[in-house]
Every structure is written in C-alpha cells, then in structure tokens.
C-alpha cells in the first residue's frame, strides 16, 4: 500500500479513545437483531448471531474494548461486523478448525464466518496511511502481537488500529469468564 492510497476503516468512537478496524477484515456489518445467549466459560464469547439462517460465533468486541482499553461512553452495541475466516491467517484458521469449532459441534455453527459486537455509532471513514503512527519502538512488539497495530492521534482522542485476526488468533477474545483482561 502506498502512502497516497486511502485506507477504508470502521471507526469506533468512545469518549476519549477510538478504534479503527480495517475494512478488508470486515466482510459486512448489520444490526445484531437475532442473538442467542449460550452457556460459555468465555468472557467475550457467550452469544451466537443468526445471519441468513446460519449461526455465527459472536464475540463481544464492545465489552473487550471497554475493559481492555478502559474505553467509556459509547452508544449501545447493536451492530455486528462479520469477518470471513478465509481472509485470516492460517494460524487463526487452524485455531478455529482444530480447537474451537469441534468443541462447539452441537451448535451447528457457520465455520466460514465469525461476528463481532461493536457500538451502534460506528461509521465508515477513509484515512491516509500517514495519519497513522507506528507504536513507539520500546513497546511495539507486545502491542502488535496482540493485534494493536498502530496509533491514530487526533486532536480530540487517541485511536488504535486493531487487527481482528490477531485479536482472536492471540486468544485474547477467548479470555475466561471470571476475569477481565485488564484490571481497572
């Protein structure tokens, strides 16, 4: 990608912080109207989303962002963004194929797509790559490894470019039900 090329992102706004999801990882988005609660030991994975007669794993990205980044003040979380596993890294696809889906076989899940709950005030925006900054060198590695790829400083808030593939691939979204990823 050249510096002049535009990056299409989903822009998720909270009070003093915002998050960017690369459009290339988001096959579609829709209102999360048909949601089914399932018993789960995972804090951010306890729902299924019904889309076109199929049932998708529905990760609560909204809760994850609130707890992990101490984000506050978003609208309700009635939107879902759909990611296609075929577009994710092989390691992530393997995690779902060999570990996640077999354990949940009784639920007859869509094994091609997963969904993420996001706030309703999410909008689509275009950015120039030079609006983003890499993380500072001394702290770059642990952030990038967990899917927090870059920073988007604006006058009003600080933004983080997130990688959905790495967020699930690093198992952050499979945290246990009894604990938060980050304590307040």
């Amino acid at each position: 990608m050249s510096e002049s090329e535009e990056l299409r992102v989903l822009f998720v706004q909270y009070d003093r912080v915002h998050f960017l999801l690369n459009r290339t990882q988001c096959a579609s988005s829709l209102f999360a109207s048909e949601v089914q609660e399932v018993g789960s030991r995972h804090r951010y994975l306890h729902e299924l989303l019904r889309v076109g007669g199929r049932r998708l794993l529905f990760f609560d990205l909204q809760l994850f962002l609130r707890e992990t980044f101490r984000a506050r003040g978003s609208a309700g979380a009635q939107l879902a963004v759909i990611g296609e596993l075929s577009g994710f890294e092989r390691r992530t696809r393997e995690l779902f194929r060999s570990s996640v889906f077999p354990r949940l076989g009784r639920l007859e899940l869509d094994t091609e797509r997963i969904a993420f709950r996001i706030p309703s005030n999410t909008v689509m925006k275009s950015l120039k790559p030079d609006e983003l900054e890499p993380h500072n060198l001394s702290i770059r590695r642990p952030l990038a490894a967990r899917g927090v790829l870059a920073v988007h400083p604006t006058e009003e808030s600080m933004g983080f470019l997130l990688d959905l593939d790495l967020l699930v691939g690093s198992r952050l979204l499979f945290a246990g039900a009894g604990r938060k990823e980050e304590s307040e």
């Binding site: 060198l137 642990p142 604006t154 980050e182």
Partner: protein
C-alpha cells in the same frame, strides 16, 4: 504562593542563574531538576526536549504498570513512564510531562513539576554509594542548594523497560 511571592522567587532564581552564567566556567554541567511527588530528581539538560503541562494520558494495555499510556504531542504518541510507580509502586497523579530527548523512541516522564535548571561545576557531581535497589536507575547525584539530588540514568531506564516488555 501568591503572585508577589512567585515573582520574588522567580527574580531571585534568575539572579542566581545570572551569577552562574556570568561565571564563564565552561566545565559547568547543566541539569533540569524536577519533582516526582515529594522527591527531587534531575536529568542532564541535553536529555530533556521540553516540559509539557495539562496533558491527557491515554491508557494502553498489555504493558508494565509503570507505563501510564500515551500522550499526544502535536500528533505524535509519546510513551509516558511513571517513575513513582516504578520506584514506590504508587501511581503519580499529574498531567505534567518531561519529554525526553533520546534517539529512536518517544518517551516522557510523568512529573509533578519542574523545580529549576541549574549549572553545576564538576565538584557538585558525586558518584553514588547507595546499595539500594533503585540506585541502579541513577547515574550519580548532584548537590543543589545543599540538597542531594539523584540524576536519572535514562539508559538504565530504557533497559528496564525493554526487559519488562520482552517478558510480556
């Protein structure tokens, strides 16, 4: 402190600094002395890029507790280190930053306030004899108005950060 007292303090300090400046001693070393809570620390002046007040701090996860997050300085993210958290396990409540001047990274220290900028002769710089754990973060100490002030070793601080981040 009322404004009259403040003005007097500033005037007296300026007079002191003028005397130091006029001494013409090329061997003087310049330090920025600052407060973190009740404690005074110093940095060589060439390690300090600027002092910045009223900064918003943005929390960043997955990092050691003494990394308080990012500050946004003119569109550039600066990693903010809280030395009180590192030394005493107690978070500093402040929005004042001392922006460091270092190669290849953008770091700032969370401080309470800047005390003064001093020029000192070589005789006012002392090696450290302390055996304390935190002493390894100090290069040496200086004497400022009969107080001993520890000079932070930014290199050691960076090594500690790199080591802690590597373990995450």
């Amino acid at each position: 402190m009322d404004n009259a007292s403040l003005l007097r303090t500033l005037t007296e300090r300026a007079a002191r600094n003028r005397v130091k400046d006029e001494s013409g001693d090329r061997s003087l070393a310049k330090y920025v002395v600052f407060m973190i809570g009740e404690r005074s620390y110093a940095l060589p002046a060439d390690r300090v890029r600027e002092i910045s007040f009223d900064n918003e701090l943005y929390y960043v996860p997955f990092l050691p507790s003494y990394v308080r997050g990012y500050a946004n300085r003119h569109g550039q993210p600066f990693t903010v280190l809280d030395l009180r958290m590192l030394f005493e396990k107690s978070a500093l409540d402040s929005s004042t930053l001392l922006i460091l001047n270092i190669d290849n990274d953008q770091l700032a220290l969370l401080i309470t306030d800047v005390d003064e900028i001093v020029k000192l002769p070589a005789g006012a710089v002392h090696p450290l004899a302390s055996e304390e754990e935190s002493a390894r973060y100090f290069a040496h100490s200086i004497t400022v108005e009969e107080r001993e002030v520890f000079v932070i070793d930014v290199g050691t601080l960076l090594q500690r950060l790199e080591r802690d981040v590597e373990r995450i």
